[in-house]
């Protein structure tokens, strides 16, 4: 009887610690979002999202952060498109052309995991070095290329996981009808797995748009909206970072606003991709 109560006690202590942990994690999330909304919402005015910085903006005068919003969208869209160009064939290659369990596939996947783990500041320093070697200045193009490098492993590995779920029967049926592998890849596998692949691309986009360390030296920062690939480009994470380091409360308030906008964009993408992913599992053959 005594032993039983000890077991019960242990059980409830363990469970108690788990509830505390869970409370800490969800509490931290709530705290972060609440801080962001309370501090950021008052700064969200129409001029904030519709204007570029005017004269004296960094002293707290007129203007907004349209340059950073547009810049971030350009950078993340460009990076995602460029990464997509390589991710799609590579992930198809890993699943259609190379046997899933082949040694080569294992090596490539391990390298991708390694690339995923490389801190984005290292990509940033690498990108900057290459940029200087090519005689380029900090520009939209350099930022896009560096972001694509950051996003590439994330995108390929996610697409790889998606393609792994491809129902084998359908693929085999296509081969049985005499289709070649490339025909099967583009006419059978791609349409079947499209929502999952879109989700993977959006995941990488979300990661890219929030990344500051990689664009810090490569994309630069400017008050204008870039008109060519060679222009320097502002981004939302850096807008938060730079404005926060200014000594004026009005400017710091805009940093909170910029952070709120960035978070809203990232969360929207996250929710949208989740929604798309849930549509796949409903319609696809499993």
């Amino acid at each position: 009887m005594k032993k039983l109560t000890r077991r019960r006690l242990e059980e409830s202590i363990a469970l108690g610690f788990m509830y505390i942990s869970l409370g800490l994690v969800t509490g931290a999330l709530g705290w972060i979002l609440l801080t962001l909304i309370i501090k950021g919402a008052p700064a969200l005015t129409w001029s904030m999202v519709s204007q570029v910085p005017q004269g004296g903006f960094y002293l707290g005068k007129e203007g907004g952060i349209l340059n950073a919003i547009i810049g971030s969208l350009y950078l993340a869209l460009g990076g995602t498109m460029l990464a997509l160009l390589f991710s799609l064939p590579i992930s198809l290659g890993l699943n259609v052309y190379i046997h899933r369990k082949a040694k080569w596939a294992l090596i490539v996947r391990s390298i991708l995991d390694v690339l995923w783990g490389i801190p984005s500041i290292v990509y940033g320093a690498f990108g900057f070095t290459i940029m200087l070697a090519l005689g380029m200045r900090a520009s939209l193009l350099a930022g896009i290329i560096t972001l694509a490098l950051v996003e590439l492993p994330i995108m390929i590995r996610s697409m790889d996981e998606v393609l792994r779920l491809m129902p084998r029967d359908i693929e085999h049926a296509s081969y049985g009808l005499g289709a070649t592998r490339i025909e099967t890849a583009f006419r059978v596998i791609l349409p079947q797995m499209l929502p999952g692949l879109v989700t993977a691309a959006m995941l990488a986009f979300g990661r890219g748009i929030g990344d500051a360390a990689s664009v810090l030296f490569t994309a630069g920062y400017t008050d204008r909206i870039p008109t060519s690939l060679m222009d320097p480009t502002a981004s939302l994470p850096l807008a938060v970072f730079f404005q926060l380091s200014m000594p004026y409360p009005e400017v710091q308030k805009r940093a909170y606003g910029a952070a709120l906008i960035l978070t809203i964009i990232v969360l929207l993408i996250s929710i949208l991709s989740r929604w798309i992913a849930s549509r796949v599992s409903r319609y696809s053959v499993k």
């Binding site: 869970l22 994690v25 198809l92 940033g124 290459i130 360390a213 030296f217």
Partner: protein
Amino acid sequence: MDLQATQPQPTDQRAAGKILASRQRTERRASVLFKGLTLFPILIFLVILVVLIARSLPILQQKSLTDLLFGQIWRPSEGVFGFLPFIAGSLWVTGIAILLAAPVSILCAIFLSEYAKPVVRTTIKPLIDILAAIPSVVYGLWGVLVIVPWVGDSFAPFVESTLGFLPFLQSKNPTGYSILSGAIVLAVMVTPFIIAISYEVMRTVPRGYHEASLAVGATRWQTVRYVIFPRVASGLAAGVVLGISRAFGETMAVLMVVGNNPNIPKSILDAAYPLPALIANNYGEMMSIPLYDAALLGSALLLLIIVLIFNVLATLVLRKVTGKGQE
């Protein structure tokens, strides 16, 4: 693949043969392209490695490795490059962050995989994913607004007056921009990451183990402790190691709250200057000082190597535990 199965009419045969030949040509070209492109990730990795090594070579040739790694003084303008303050800063911040994050993360993962009802699990998992999706500058902003003032105004004076006689807890830094602030922010950032891996690892234990253990009268905690934990311990450790390597490379959030002071910290309430912050703060303006650029790329190389070792070790363990690659 056998494409001879179809039997075209004799008149169509030449046209059909042409189409077939062109399809096969496309297939051969695609095969070369798709297989060849899988070389691309390896190429990227090698290029990064080679470029970083080549660009940090000047400083590696002029100074001894021990001077660089264990030198305590950082004065680029005088040509003195001691990395120890930055390595120590990184170790402190990462170490404390993991001490805070690992137990919480693993307990959460145990709860989600062993205790939670499906309804609870499907509500909490997306919340944790949201936490993982928040950009690092936002974490940094939260740190500046919430954690730094708390450490500076409440925690540090309180600890100083009650436990100030202990080493590591003395406070000479009233600002709150400190190792502890960096570690707290970092802990919150890596928690969702460690939870996700630990959860995946816990799910690999077959249902039968739970059922057998519960059937002989074990409580759920006993099942976790004596049946599941021994099976997943190495996987959980690997998850924590991946968390460490993630934390080690995190730049912006830490940079914003850690104080960036290139001295070897003596207390968790001191400011520190981790490696990624060193690169981020000084890169771009290092051109005028000789060797500065090589020193900074050298620290990027150091960062890469440390993270690489952690990742490879963890991935090998995880592959053994889960039977597939890390996810």
